[in-house]
Symmetry: C2
Subunit: 317 residues, 2 copies
């Protein structure tokens, strides 16, 4: 209910989505929208706006659509929850209602973004404005478990920083660098600091950052991609453009972050996908498809097992 | 001397640079490179490496090439100084040797980057890892004065943040937002928070940020530009590519940040240009050309006058 395009645009997007017969959509929103589309409906009685203060809003609006959705997830009535609403409210509410996986103090928003080689899992892209070194180390474990679940044997991990030297950046980043370097039994390969320009070379599988920097990183990538595609259209003569349209469309799809399947709120007990507040119908639909895939893989359990295994290894060595 | 390509590549770049007859280059470096090119030479006896701790290095190496250069600038023997060396050492050394313009506590690295409309002045892109609200406000004044000097009557100013709402981001950003909003006599128009994706729409003339985030912003833009140009080359058939080469070259030049004329260390008494440590010969040459332009405009004096005028206005109102 709370996002910029909610609810009509999102309901239409879901209505047009071709889903396998064993997947069922439950829409969650204000009573007046019940029954206007074919899928099941759960009623919420309040809406948290995009610009409301997350904690104040949660205290007052316990029946907001995102709270209702998270409670359904907690009870097992649904297998995954997708939201394009207020990020802060979603993260806080998920921590309270679902709680975090043992060993994880703070969940992080994880986005998979394209590089010249394999996609890199970037976290945190917006769940926590600031992050302590201990949180960054936990993000590394979550990111490694995520990429292992995607089939990468020993994921490489880098810290997003302003230079490759160990002493670069804030004191929390330097401490995180030191701690990650010391983890000899880690289920990943720590490669040190990575600059924004090198991330896209695709040499790391996981990129660790605080939620503020990660969010700026993601949205800057989105902005410059749009600028460049704009310039291509302006620079290339019309008749040439027409011939190249299929290639350019493909490129645009690949780079248009607004069409991305959203970010995974990793580290809570349950599959929660956060789409942009300004998600296009297509982006929101992609978020739902991504949630279906993660639910089929029982991703929360897989993540928990991988983290348990690591904690166990640490204990016995 | 201290940069990744120094000194031979940089000396060659300068040697090939067509400069007007009234511009003279002074190269500053170790004695063994003296006289191998046509231009004047100032001898330095030490080199600060890219990965040395800035303050420790400055204490031990008072005759490093960047210190010699800044002293020549202070003495008026040169009109501008261009360096591709250790950023931290350059910033600290410039503060100590040149001192800052009255009213400015911290200099900031200012980079001009392309958008869909006019270029935006982004600062700080790396002089200060962290910034207090009061520093961010000073960056706004410097940025406004810079864009006024470039002919923009009342520059619009935004804060790089993770959402447009006033409460977004860290406490320092919220405080800076509040202070900038209160400045009714400001020589600029404060437009609030700007997300990374919106910066490239070109709706702000000045973008304010701390040096860590600004540096990540700049290098991310560089990285994604390289990724996209790579993808274009891969997606467009060879024969089409050949026909489009002039347009693509033009686009690449425009977006290749490695060819950018470097960042201005704004707020110190003197024209100091910082190029990337990994500057190509072309980028370094562009940095020198940019320095010549700023020296011709007597930019330091212009900036100081514009800031004086603003402080005066504040005093009398």
């Amino acid at each position: 209910m709370g996002s910029d395009n909610a609810p009509q645009v999102l309901l239409n997007a879901l209505d047009e989505l071709p889903l396998p017969p064993d997947v069922e959509i439950v829409a969650i929103g204000m009573p007046e929208y019940k029954g206007i589309k074919r899928f099941r409906y759960a009623v919420a009685t309040e809406v948290i706006g995009m610009d409301e203060h997350p904690l104040l809003a949660l205290r007052r609006k316990r029946n907001a659509s995102l709270c209702v959705g998270l409670r359904l997830l907690k009870e097992g009535a649904i297998d995954a929850f997708v939201s394009a609403g207020n990020t802060g409210a979603l993260v806080s509410s998920a921590k309270m209602i679902l709680s975090t996986i043992p060993g994880i103090l703070r969940p992080a928003l994880l986005a998979l973004i394209p590089t010249k080689k394999n996609p890199v899992a970037v976290l945190d892209v917006g769940a926590n404005v600031q992050a302590k070194a201990s949180h960054l180390v936990q993000f590394a474990l979550i990111g490694a478990a995520y990429q292992k679940a995607r089939g990468i044997e020993k994921p490489s991990i880098g810290i997003l920083n302003i230079g490759s030297e160990a002493m670069k950046g804030t004191s929390e980043l330097r401490l995180a660098y030191h701690e990650l370097q010391m983890m000899s039994l880690a289920p990943f390969r720590f490669v040190g600091n990575i600059e924004g320009k090198s991330v896209f070379d695709g040499d790391v599988d996981v990129l660790i950052t605080d939620g503020f920097t990660g969010n700026v990183f993601l949205k800057t990538a989105e902005g410059i991609a749009s600028l460049i595609l704009d310039r291509i259209n302006a620079h290339i003569p019309q008749e040439e453009l027409k011939k190249l349209q299929p290639e350019l469309n493909d490129l645009q799809r690949h780079l248009h972050y607004a069409e991305y399947p959203g970010a995974l709120l990793a580290g809570v007990k349950g599959i929660v996908i956060k789409c942009h507040g300004y998600s296009t119908p297509r982006a929101f639909a992609n978020g739902v498809i991504g949630a279906v895939e993660l639910a089929r893989e029982k991703f929360t359990q897989v993540l928990q097992d991988k983290l348990d295994f690591f904690h166990l290894k640490k204990k016995f060595n």
